[in-house]
Amino acid sequence: MAGRIKIRAQKKGDVTEVKALMRHPMETGMRKDQAGDPIPAHFITEVAVLHGDQPVMQGHWGAAVSANPFLGVRFAGGEAGDTVRVVWTDNQGGTGEGETTIR
């Protein structure tokens, strides 16, 4: 279930607009479940947007980001048909990856 990413990338003038929606619970580690036991922290720590093999954005995320996070990024360049990838790693070693082509 976790790991999925929905991406759209659209060329707008000189820039490419990337919109990515990621499937992740983003648990802070501060919550308790119905039984009162702590829910282990589980959140994305690193996220990157790549244009081809070239990183155009890299970020460090933490527990403050919402569940199923939405990421919007604009970068200069990019041509229709180019590949855009979004990848993440979380604090439990999980990874997610999604790919699309620029429209």
């Binding site: 929905k6 919402s66 199923n68």
Partner: protein, 266 residues
């Protein structure tokens, strides 16, 4: 005691009467911005996979499940619920119909499949939530048209109407206390008038919905159960007569409206 109840009722009346001015449609703007990026899209995919996944002792998929339009027909099925099924001789909502299919077709244990229909804190969605979300999406854009041909369906509507206006519990609440006027809100949430077609269509047509504050898709069954909790009423059981009756009341009032689910809520 009576006096105290009256005081509380006045307080609620004041709360509900707060004008909409402070809202300014901010949430509608947010919905427009996020519209294409409703995280419910993941849950739709998961529901579809679960429908086609062999499960239970029979190792069967739900493809043989008859949602009223014939076995395996999912498109446009949700907008016809709640409806009467001859094989069970009962009016069922989608959730109870799914439970019926899981136990009869897949041979799964009734207690297991009904143990946790809705996510608790820390959960990331349940099978029921995913299936209902996908099936609602299979009816997206369709006209809400619940069956009211069988006598049992009409009786269910009457029962739903009765429960809707029935005041009970320590707060002397009925569903109508909050949902019988239009243009009112509680805190920042606009309260739909469920006795009117417009209000009912808007509400019935937008659930199941992704609740941003919970990071989960919630179904109408959950919404009703949570209303019961807020009224300090006994816990509403999924697939119970009370739940199906209230859903029938709402769906029939909403008839003619458009199914827009899965929605996006605060």
């Amino acid at each position: 005691m009576k006096k105290r109840n009256l005081g509380f009722t006045w307080f609620v009346a004041w709360l509900c009467a707060a004008q909409l001015a402070a809202d300014d449609g901010v949430f509608d703007q947010y919905r427009d911005l996020m519209g294409d990026d409703n995280p419910a899209v993941f849950v739709i995919d998961e529901g579809e996979e679960l429908w086609f996944a062999p499960q239970g002792p029979e190792s069967a998929t739900l493809e043989a499940c008859d949602l009223g339009l014939g076995p395996g027909v999912t498109s446009g099925a949700y907008v016809r619920f709640p409806r009467y099924f001859a094989d069970t001789d009962a009016v069922m909502d989608l959730e109870s119909r799914l439970v019926h299919c899981m136990t009869t077709i897949q041979g799964r244990d009734l207690e297991t499949v009904t143990a946790k229909p809705y996510s608790l804190r820390g959960d990331f969605g349940t099978e029921m939530e995913a299936l209902v979300t996908w099936l609602a999406a299979e009816s997206e854009g369709a006209t809400i048209a619940p069956e009211q041909t069988h006598a049992a369906e009409r009786a269910m509507y009457s029962l739903g109407e009765e429960i809707f206006f029935y005041r009970a519990g320590p707060h002397d609440f009925s569903c109508a206390t909050c949902h019988e006027q239009s243009g009112m809100r509680i805190r920042l949430q606009a309260l739909p008038d469920l006795t009117s077609h417009t209000g009912a269509a808007e509400a019935w047509g937008s659930w199941p919905a992704y609740r941003i504050s919970q990071g989960l898709v919630r179904t109408m069954g959950w919404r009703l159960r949570d209303c019961f909790r807020q009224q300090r009423w006994p816990e509403l059981q999924m697939g119970s007569e009370a739940s199906i009756a209230l859903q029938t009341y709402m769906a029939v009032n909403a008839a003619g409206g458009v199914m827009t689910a899965p929605g996006l809520k605060r």
